[in-house]
Amino acid sequence: MKNSRTKVVLCLALTTVFTLTGCRFFGGDSTGSSDKIQLKIGFWPQSSDKTDVGMYTEWKNKFEEDNPQYEIIGSPYIYSKETIGPKHETHTLPHVYQTWFTEPEGLKNSGYIRDITSILNEFGWTDKIDDEMKATLTFDNKIYGVPRDGYGLGLLINTKTLGDLGLLPEKEGKYVLYNDDGSPAYPTTFDDLLRVSETITDETEAKGMFICTSNKNGGWQFSNMAWNFGATLEVKENNKWKANLDSNEAVNALTWLKEMKEKDLVYRGISIAYDDWPSAIGSKVGMAIVGSDILHLAKTTGFVDMSDLAFVPMPTGDGTHHYSLYGGTPFVFDSETSDEQVRGILKFFDYIGRSPTTNKTNIDAIRKGYQVALNKNQPILPKIMPWKNADYLKVAKELEEEYVSVDMKYYSPFFSTINEYKHSEEPIATQKMYEILDDAIQSLFQNPESANPKSLLSTANSKLQKILDELN
């Protein structure tokens, strides 16, 4: 009796399992039997984001109506170093996905992404891509992606924290960025940064600055600091690349970092991820070095009002250089994507407002994007445009001015100077260089008192040189 009951339960359980999973697998991800060309879109929003999914579905329907030979399949993928390898191994990458500015070179060398030069030429887009961004996507004269938008590194300041400590002047109940004589009151040199950080750390629970150290982001930001101390990290001599990480200027930059850590003025930890800045900038640190393309995260994931923040150019170390590391967030195409699929995806860019054209579809989509962001209460900031053709720029700028929702007084110090200060990444083995610099910064953070910046950078230099020798 009991035995048979067990059996019934077992059978029931089995049937449930198989029906449930049956539905899931053969319904959910199944791709149907149509012979349409499938386009798997990795930058499709996560299903939890209902409004964005709605917007993309609208775009998808319109696109499929106009181009019945294609089928758009949303397959959201957030790029990460940990997942890209397994996903490539398992052939589960979408045809197009978004990655970080730092990644295309490595992705290309690993054979994960494909060259799309000929199709860009076909579309006439090659010459419309912003030059610096094109450079970061070009290897051996082949272009490996399309920029989404550009970014420059700048200094994000919590004006409330600084103002409350008397580090910014107050006017009509608001903290302002300039003194009465018009000179900047915000930190403009690395010495300023140190002093301001000391005050913040002494007077509040917060630390002075957020400095990231891991995932290549430490090296990425450090290279910008080093430039502003006057360093050049890679030089070409007799047609051969030479590592130049241990110049006096670079050592000065690392020495500055040593002092910051020694005095415990930076956000703590050894492996500090860039992703953590939005949660830190509220009350945990006063300042952070951040890319201009993701400032809105301060509000959306850090819950800090944009009116409590200001974005200013990178400070200088040697009194002359104010460079801002400049690059782009690219869309890249999986190596298994066919020409026809790349064509389809580039056509789809019109429908989502990412193409350089000024036809109605593209403009409407840009407008729609802004509106949806507004409805979601997302702050809208100026963008560094990925395309440089004049007709596009004109329309895009007009739209931007219409929709920008932050007080530009606090953001124009950066956005009005970026064209003057912008500086592309170092040209060769850039990601490896960042990784090597990450290591140097991490060892410095481990033992700030006893660390020797010169010798750390010498070690880093010889590591980089070895790699350059292999490539030369």
Binding site: G269, I270, F445
Partner: protein, 291 residues
């Protein structure tokens, strides 16, 4: 009948053999045989040496924290007379939480900054100035990770000890009591010797388990923090994260790392089986002798 075997082939033996063979080849396409070069390469790799050091540090700390705590707990539980049921459930409760949730929980508590809860306690109650930067030093980080593992595992192990303590015949204690042995004497002369087998078995099993520490350091410290990386994590990292100077993943090095770790575990396991057999034989010999 063949089906279960097929599963073992597919899920266990094939992958392991694949890795053993791969560890002697230059890449995952098996292009050329390189002998022991991958092994030489990993032993010259600082990451591997760090991971090797850490793996033994994990063992060391788990012997101190992870081994003693459940033993003591098991003993006290067996002697406790009041609120037995409550104590057992309370001690066992953390075992019910999945390992992943436990690591995230400990990551949240043991943050580096002065506003993370453990540091708040250290600052407010113990007068420390800024709290501890846990991830900075492997002498601090590894004990924290072992603490997290022990926190989750101790209850289950303590219950095993408990049942073994309870199996000890009360008549033996009674006899000793009549002979006038003090509680301390009874504990050292009777309890401990009788528990020796259990203690030893659980000890070895624990050591084997600790060699496999993997996602704890991955979540708490990050894949690239050499203060916590274990051999297991490094092997994973070679295969899926860490690239060489040509931006290629290093499957062969991953395989070699796996093989080294497997050999270490194998040695411990053989020791375990050997000693189990030894203890059994001795027990048999004893009971036969008595007869």
């Amino acid at each position: 009948m063949a089906l279960p075997l097929l599963l073992f082939v597919f899920f266990v033996w094939y992958p392991i053999s694949f890795n053993v063979v791969l560890s002697f080849f230059n890449n995952e396409k098996f292009e050329s045989f390189v002998g022991f070069n991958n092994y030489i390469a990993i032993f010259q790799d600082q990451d591997f040496l760090d991971a090797l050091r850490n793996t033994f540090l994990y063992i060391f700390w788990s012997l101190i924290i992870g081994f003693l705590v459940p033993l003591i707990l098991g003993f006290i539980l067996s002697e406790a007379f009041h609120a037995k049921g409550f104590f057992r459930i309370a001690i066992y409760l953390p075992c019910m939480i999945s390992g992943m949730a436990v690591v995230f929980l400990f990551k949240s508590m043991f943050g580096d900054n002065s506003w993370d809860v453990i540091n708040v306690i250290l600052i407010r109650w113990f007068g420390m100035k800024d709290g501890v930067e846990w991830t900075k030093d492997y002498h601090i980080l590894i004990p924290v990770i072992v603490f997290a593992m022990t926190w989750r595992g101790a209850g289950g192990t303590a219950l095993i000890y408990l049942s073994n303590f309870q199996q000890i015949d009360d008549a033996i204690y009674e006899a000793a009591r009549i002979d006038g042995a003090s509680p301390t004497q009874r504990f050292t002369k009777l309890t401990i010797p009788m528990m020796k087998t259990t203690i030893f078995m659980l000890l070895i099993l624990q050591v084997i388990a600790v060699f496999q520490v993997f996602y704890e350091p991955m979540v708490i410290a990050g894949v690239d923090n050499n203060n916590a990386i274990s051999l297991m994590l490094l092997s994973y990292s070679f295969a899926f994260v860490k690239k060489d100077s040509f931006e290629r993943l290093q499957y062969s090095k991953s395989a070699a790392t796996s093989v080294v770790l497997a050999l270490i575990i194998l040695a411990f396991t053989l020791l375990y089986f050997g000693l189990t057999r030894y203890f059994e034989k001795r027990a048999e010999a004893k009971s036969e002798g008595k007869l």
